[in-house]
């Protein structure tokens, strides 16, 4: 609208109106708005799809029948995309971020005790505060607590395998769990998933919604995983691998892994008086 205003003002004085001109549209009320020009419209940076797996990735066979084949229709962010659900501590229970205790029946689950922690950031580097992070995983033997999982490794009576956390004001989250085991799956007959933890993250707008998986530094199954290798960009793949973070480990108790998650960048805050990163 700024541009069209400038154009209107630069029209030479005395220019006559063409005979076939339509009646002028009613003046856009925003032209009288006292708000100064601002790049802060709250929209998200365009998603760089070259770092994401394509929908159709035949090496991951399940994608063949489940991948759209038409081009996606690109639309600019409207209020439908820059808004999203807001969660709070009322949505969570006190043990939700402790997978060692949140399903314990008669003792702790079997496995390597670990802490997973990191920040949820956006592409500008700002922390994303108060956003919901959900996670789920197999147990130490590679078995999921799910009625459709039939892997022969046993379920652990003391391990549910899911949890959630709300990031703090700086976008920081953490949880405690046991390290999941690798497991076989039917893609090729001898396909194995590297040990991984699934993550679901919301961000501040529905267009930032993301599900991904975290892997563990040094796992030899990483470079041969048919799901991981759907990612075409080597650096993007490496960013899914959490390093051992010895400084964050608890001596004589738990090792720690660090996993930062980056959501789409946001052009800005919605209100001048809100803290950055919202």
């Amino acid at each position: 609208m700024i541009l069209s205003t400038d154009r209107a003002r630069s029209r030479p004085q005395g220019e006559t109106t063409p005979m076939n001109a339509q009646a002028p549209a009613s003046r856009d009320p925003r032209l009288n708005s006292p708000e100064p020009f601002t790049p802060r419209d709250g929209g998200f940076f365009q998603r760089d799809r070259t770092i994401h797996p394509p929908a159709y990735a035949p090496g991951y066979k399940s994608s063949v029948l489940r991948s759209p084949r038409q081009a996606l229709l690109s639309i600019e962010n409207s209020v439908s995309e820059i808004t999203g659900p807001v969660f709070g501590h009322n949505d969570l229970g006190p043990l939700d971020n402790d997978l060692i205790r949140n399903y314990a029946k008669d003792g702790d689950p079997v496995g390597e005790r670990i802490i997973v922690h990191g920040r949820v950031l956006d592409e500008t580097g700002r922390g994303v505060p108060n956003t919901l992070v959900e996670f789920w995983q197999a147990n130490a033997g590679g078995r999921y607590r799910h009625k459709k999982d039939t892997y022969l490794a046993p379920v652990d009576p003391n391990f549910g395998g899911c949890g959630r956390a709300l990031t703090d004001d700086a976008g920081y989250y953490y949880f405690r769990t046991v390290k999941p085991g690798p497991y076989p799956w039917r893609n090729f007959v001898n396909s194995w998933r590297p040990a991984h933890i699934h993550f679901s993250v919301f961000g501040s707008g529905f267009a930032q919604r993301l599900i991904t998986q975290m892997y563990f530094e040094g796992d030899p199954l990483i470079p041969i995983c048919p799901i991981l290798t759907t990612i075409p960009d080597k650096d993007a793949l490496d960013r899914l691998v959490a390093p051992l973070d010895l400084n964050a480990s608890i001596p004589l108790d738990s090792l720690a892994y660090r996993f930062d998650i980056v959501l789409r960048g946001q052009r800005s805050t919605y209100f001048e008086n809100r803290p950055e990163g919202n």
């Binding site: 038409q70 409207s78 808004t83 999203g84 799910h146 650096d235 960048g265 919605y270």
Partner: protein, 208 residues
């Protein structure tokens, strides 16, 4: 060399896998763990607006329903207002309607249902009125990055015809893939939809 921009890169997406229920709907995985759970029921006793059921399936390239798919919906309230601080429109908003829910498909039939209210029309940032719609996000085994689509309502013909997003869909014959069909069943209003991942009726998916 110009100054470096130093933006970070978005974390790459990975499939939600077949066991997405464990983390997001543990009751469907077969166990009870959280004190509070999210669900497919968005409506609350105090929410204003017409009570509706959304009911649909997601079909793969063979026409078979996905039985392990998870859908989330995000919508405005009956006044056309999203329950989020970035929506600065005039409509009233309150705690009685969050506007978000999630549902897993039935393991046998593939049916996905939501109990919600019909959203009002929203105004986009150019001041244009947008037809009432529900935003949908779809994840499942075999889906490498969540799919974004929308549901519009069959009884909003005039609003749909003027909707700025529907009008971007080319060829126009594909617009109908975004429209849920209204019917009444035992006194309840049901909007039915089918999301086709592939094929001649492939649903329009958005890069938002």
């Amino acid at each position: 060399m110009p100054q470096p921009l130093n933006y970070l890169k978005e974390t790459a997406s990975q499939t939600a896998g077949p066991y997405v229920h464990i983390g997001l709907i543990p009751a469907m995985a077969g166990f009870d763990i959280f004190e509070k759970n999210f669900s497919n029921v968005l409506v609350t006793p105090d929410a204003k607006g017409e009570r509706i059921t959304l009911e649909g399936r997601v079909l793969d390239g063979s026409g078979s329903p996905l039985r392990d798919v998870l859908l989330e919906i995000w919508q405005a309230n009956a006044a056309g207002r999203y329950n989020h601080p970035a929506d600065r429109s005039a409509g009233a908003v309150g705690e009685e309607f969050r506007g978000w829910g999630r549902a897993g498909s039935d393991f046998e039939s593939g049916l996905v249902t939501f109990e919600t209210i019909k959203p009002g029309a929203i105004v986009d940032r150019a001041g244009r009125k947008c037809a009432p719609h529900v935003n949908i996000w779809i994840v499942a085994r075999g889906i490498n990055i969540g799919l974004n689509t929308r549901l519009y309502f069959s009884d909003e013909e005039a609003a749909n015809a003027a909707d700025p997003v529907l009008n971007l869909v080319e060829p126009p014959v594909r617009r109908k893939t975004l429209i849920a069909t209204r019917s009444e069943r035992a006194g309840k209003v049901v909007y039915s939809f089918t999301i086709n991942l592939q094929g001649p009726e492939e649903t329009v998916f958005f890069d938002v």
